[in-house]
């Protein structure tokens, strides 16, 4: 081909035809919400059960309860002990998984169509008839305590958990990671686990998302057959009580002779349903949401301080934070922190039309690929359920993004990025970090231990 032909970027061939999957929402007799998407391209099916209430429900002194509950729920159910239960799933080639975060518990099932009935039967046994026996409980508790001990080795985990603990102010329900506190785990009893099940694990506090190769009739029949024992209850659940207290400043956690530092910089933000979600999405896309965003291009592709640097608004159900995260060679940490702060100040001066066009284009055109796999579809429906998003959220998503103005993005930067109240937290060798940090700021530096407790002020 001619040289001149190669010098021009090719244009897209035609407009893309993409239709969102049809979503069918209905309630079972026991008040369980079912959100169903039929997809027949492969003989597989995914079910996700969401329980409202994760580690944000952990009582004071028992941080880690919801997560320990999640470790216990598949340790025996409906006539099978924990080992037998997993063997039944494995023999079918089905996968059961469970996770717990601040806002909820998520039980997942992936099965071949030919094994859907048996798999849903087993999945339902876990939901309706878990055993919670003492022997399993003691074992899972020991496993968790050891796991918490191991986290001391992981600088990324330490940075993220202590950053959230500090920004949320040590008492807010969101100040704690789902895994909880080592000192609290020993206070948790099997009775606490059973109480959690009674209080939160009820159909009218849950939703079931089903995506895959099954008809609505088949699905409904199976769910009615296997979940009918699961009875609704009057809910007695406390509302979130906000106890945030930010203490902006510079914090370090010493890791002897570390060759690299983990960096988290940010502050509290506004919860998702109280804000301009579309301008904020585009703002973060420009600032630090992807590879080609300002922060990564500066810190990685220009300065070479890091392997990658990103920013995000992390929305919890009832609160939110904004932060930049990266890791940098220990000798470049001060400079990396200074560049991040510079970028946070700079974004408040406004973005360009070109940047906004880029952010819109990438967000809009990427949209169809968020619905490729059953897991992705289920994830999007989970988000919609958890944040109580409007029914037409995904249908109108592209138009809403397209209609955001540059003024709205610039206003979002002024409203949501606050360089004047940053919590700067760094995990690394303090002897190498302190001189660098003194160079970029006259503020005091507080040393914390890996749990976030103050060690000294420098």
């Amino acid at each position: 081909m001619k040289k001149s032909e190669r010098s021009k970027m090719p244009l897209p061939s035609s407009e893309l035809k993409f239709t969102l999957p049809d979503v069918d929402t209905f309630k079972l007799a026991n008040a369980l919400d079912v959100i169903f998407v039929k997809r027949n391209s492969l003989p597989i099916l995914r079910l996700n059960l969401i329980i409202n209430g994760g580690s944000n429900t952990d009582p004071v002194g028992k941080k880690g309860l919801a997560n320990l509950f999640s470790m216990m729920i598949d340790e025996g159910a409906g006539g099978y002990n924990g080992l037998e239960l997993m063997d039944e799933f494995d023999i079918l080639g089905s996968n059961f998984d469970i996770s717990c975060n601040n806002d909820g518990l998520y039980l997942g099932l992936r099965t071949l169509k030919e094994n859907a009935d048996r798999s849903i039967d087993l999945f339902s046994k876990i939901i309706t008839d878990p055993h919670f026996d003492e022997i399993s409980f003691a074992r899972e508790k020991r496993k968790l305590i050891t796991r918490l001990m191991q986290l001391k080795d992981d600088p990324e985990e330490i940075a993220s958990s202590v950053f959230e603990y500090t920004v949320f102010g040590k008492e807010d329900p969101y100040a704690f990671t789902a895994m909880g506190k080592e000192e609290d785990i020993s206070n948790i009893t099997v009775e606490d686990i059973k109480n959690f099940y009674r209080n939160y694990f009820v159909p009218n506090n849950a939703a079931l998302i089903a995506v895959g190769n099954i008809t609505k009739e088949e699905l409904t029949d199976k769910l009615n057959k296997y979940l009918h024992k699961w009875a609704p209850k009057i809910l007695n659940i406390d509302k979130y009580k906000c106890k945030t207290k930010e203490s902006p400043g510079i914090y370090i956690i010493h890791k002897d002779e570390s060759v690299q530092s983990e960096i988290r910089i940010g502050h509290l933000s506004e919860k998702r349903d109280k804000r301009d979600i579309f301008p904020s999405t585009l703002l973060n896309n420009i600032l630090g949401g992807q590879f080609s965003s300002r922060i990564n291009l500066n810190l990685r592709e220009d300065k070479g301080y890091t392997y990658g640097a990103f920013s995000r608004f992390n929305y919890f159900k009832d609160n939110a934070i904004f932060y930049v995260s990266t890791s940098a060679g220990i000798e470049n940490t001060g400079k990396a922190v200074a560049e991040i702060i510079k970028e946070l100040n700079l974004i408040k001066e406004g973005v360009t039309e070109k940047e906004l066009d880029f952010a819109k284009s990438s967000t809009i055109r990427k949209f169809p690929s968020n619905f490729e796999t059953n897991r992705q579809v289920a994830y999007n429906l989970t988000t919609k359920y958890l944040y109580n998003l409007p029914d037409d959220y995904y249908d109108t998503y592209i138009d809403k993004i397209r209609n955001v103005s540059i003024n709205e993005v610039n206003k979002a930067a002024l409203d949501h990025i606050h360089p004047e109240k940053l919590t700067i937290l760094i995990v690394g060798d303090k002897n190498k970090l302190i001189p660098q940090l003194k160079e970029i700021s006259k503020d005091k530096i507080t040393e914390l231990d890996y749990l976030g407790k103050e060690v000294s002020v420098i």
């Binding site: 081909m1 190669r6 970027m9 090719p10 244009l11 897209p12 061939s13 407009e15 893309l16 035809k17 993409f18 391209s41 492969l42 003989p43 597989i44 080992l83 997993m86 063997d87 494995d90 023999i91 079918l92 080639g93 071949l112 074992r139 020991r142 050891t146 796991r147 001990m149 191991q150 080795d153 600088p155 890791k255 002897d256 002779e257 570390s258 060759v259 690299q260 590879f291 080609s292 291009l297 592709e301 070479g304 301080y305 890091t306 392997y307 890791s327 940098a328 060679g329 880029f358 284009s361 990438s362 809009i364 055109r365 990427k366 949209f367 169809p368 690929s369 490729e372 796999t373 059953n374």
Partner: protein, 424 residues
């Protein structure tokens, strides 16, 4: 199985570029995936890490694509992209809305043929910094992060290309000049040393024409010479102990085994699964669940184009003893070697493999990569069924025999313990 039988077209351009086209209209997406037959095996001692560093340079723009624009063009199209390097090969892949296929072919062909005019010292210096940070983040600053490189370093003979880590050693990474990088490109980055796979929603005729248009006139170069691989033969057990800044003791055991798709490769995969792949797996159940001697355990077969090894890794519970773990592991291996495994265990592993094949078909990007994978190792992209058959044919005798053949030989043992703790 029918759904695992993928229809495809495969052909070669005059310049030697292999092309695989697989149409899958489930979603309006298309994935482009290129494998270059160049990995860290093509390096030599003292010059490690260049294949991976070179992968980074491929994202720095080419003759018609300014720096940073490679990423930008694709992200502006709503696409995702990345690349990866291992012992055997380097791959580059994108997933975009299907109407942007031509954009990707333009970008991939520009860097396949016309990368050198845009390479600068400044770009190289920058990416050396980035790769050094990558090494820190993924290895040096990770707990137990250097275990892999210690093991392969001791298991494979000094001149074996699997004896150094793909990321490379820092001194080597720092040493690279523009000339090194350009030479690497000239040797390995030619159409005749690559395979281009397109999978997803596209028109075959149009895609074929676009491939011709963008790749057809790229210059061929001499196919690099096959590398010579020394045999792996441990003369004795090698025991290494290390103190590190970690909380728990961990033991690694590694035996030389077989390369990918050799007769016992699939049996060794099953052995790994039967030992540690599920809650009921033998070592997991015994050591993690019942006796609580270990916090975690994993056993698996690693296999590449030139060699393979079988590895078992176990982390001791606080106060636990690595020697006890080791005894338990060897007792179980002896047990398998004598009595074999149950039909239920084999059945469980088979069903796990079969269903994971089917689940993986959802993602057009993993399909494209898998087609390239089979083409690279088997010479036939549509090998899902053949591969499944390979697993379905594993017998109890095979599992016993693979233990006898490989896991009774000399091994490398690495013990990592806390720097402030007591010796075991």
């Amino acid at each position: 199985m029918n759904i695992l039988n993928l229809e495809y077209d495969k052909y070669k351009l005059n310049n030697g570029l292999e092309v695989i086209l697989h149409q899958n209209d489930n979603h309006p997406l298309v994935s482009v995936n290129i494998w270059y037959k160049a990995g860290s095996s093509n390096e030599r001692k003292g010059k490690t890490g260049i294949a991976h560093l070179f992968e980074h340079m491929m994202f720095q723009g080419s003759l018609n694509v300014p720096k940073e624009m490679h990423f930008r063009y694709i992200q502006e199209a709503g696409g995702t992209l990345n690349g990866s390097t291992n012992f055997d090969r380097t791959n580059y892949y994108e997933k975009v809305p299907s109407n942007f296929l031509e954009l990707i072919l333009w970008l991939e062909s520009d860097r396949m043929g016309l990368l050198l005019p845009s390479l600068t010292q400044e770009k190289l210096n920058n990416q050396i910094d980035v790769v050094r940070n990558e090494r820190l983040e993924r290895y040096d600053n990770q707990p137990y992060g250097l275990a892999w490189e210690t093991l392969i370093n001791n298991l494979y003979p000094k001149d074996h290309p699997y004896s150094w880590p793909t990321i490379g050693y820092v001194a080597d990474i720092n040493s690279y000049t523009l000339k090194d990088v350009k030479d690497f490109f000239k040797t390995y980055y030619a159409p005749s040393n690559a395979c281009l796979t397109i999978a997803g929603n596209f028109d075959k005729k149009i895609a074929g024409e676009l491939v011709d248009k963008y790749f057809g006139d790229l210059k061929n170069s001499k196919i690099p010479a096959e590398i010579v691989i020394p045999p792996v033969d441990l003369k004795e057990n090698i025991i290494i102990t290390r103190k590190e800044n970690v909380q728990l003791e961990r033991i690694y055991l590694a035996w030389a085994s077989e390369k990918a798709f050799d007769p016992f490769d699939s049996s060794l995969d099953f052995l790994g699964d039967i030992l540690s792949g599920s809650k009921n797996a033998r070592l997991y159940k015994n050591l993690v669940y019942d006796k609580e001697l270990a916090q975690d355990i994993s056993a698996y077969q690693f296999s590449g184009k030139y060699a393979g090894h079988f590895m078992i890794v176990a982390t001791a519970k606080p106060g636990g003893s690595l020697s006890t773990l080791k005894d338990e592991i060897f007792r179980e291996l002896e047990n398998v070697s004598e009595k074999g495994v149950t039909s239920r265990e084999i059945f469980r592993s088979k069903n796990g493999i079969k269903s994971s094949f089917i689940y993986s078909m959802q993602n057009v990007e993993s399909l494209a990569d898998q087609l390239n994978y089979y083409n690279f190792y088997c010479g036939e992209p549509n090998s899902f069924n053949a591969d499944l058959t390979r697993y379905e044919n594993v017998t109890n005798e095979d599992i016993k025999e693979c233990v006898n053949k490989y896991l009774k030989n000399n091994y490398v043992e690495l013990r990592i313990s806390p720097s402030n703790g007591n010796e075991d």
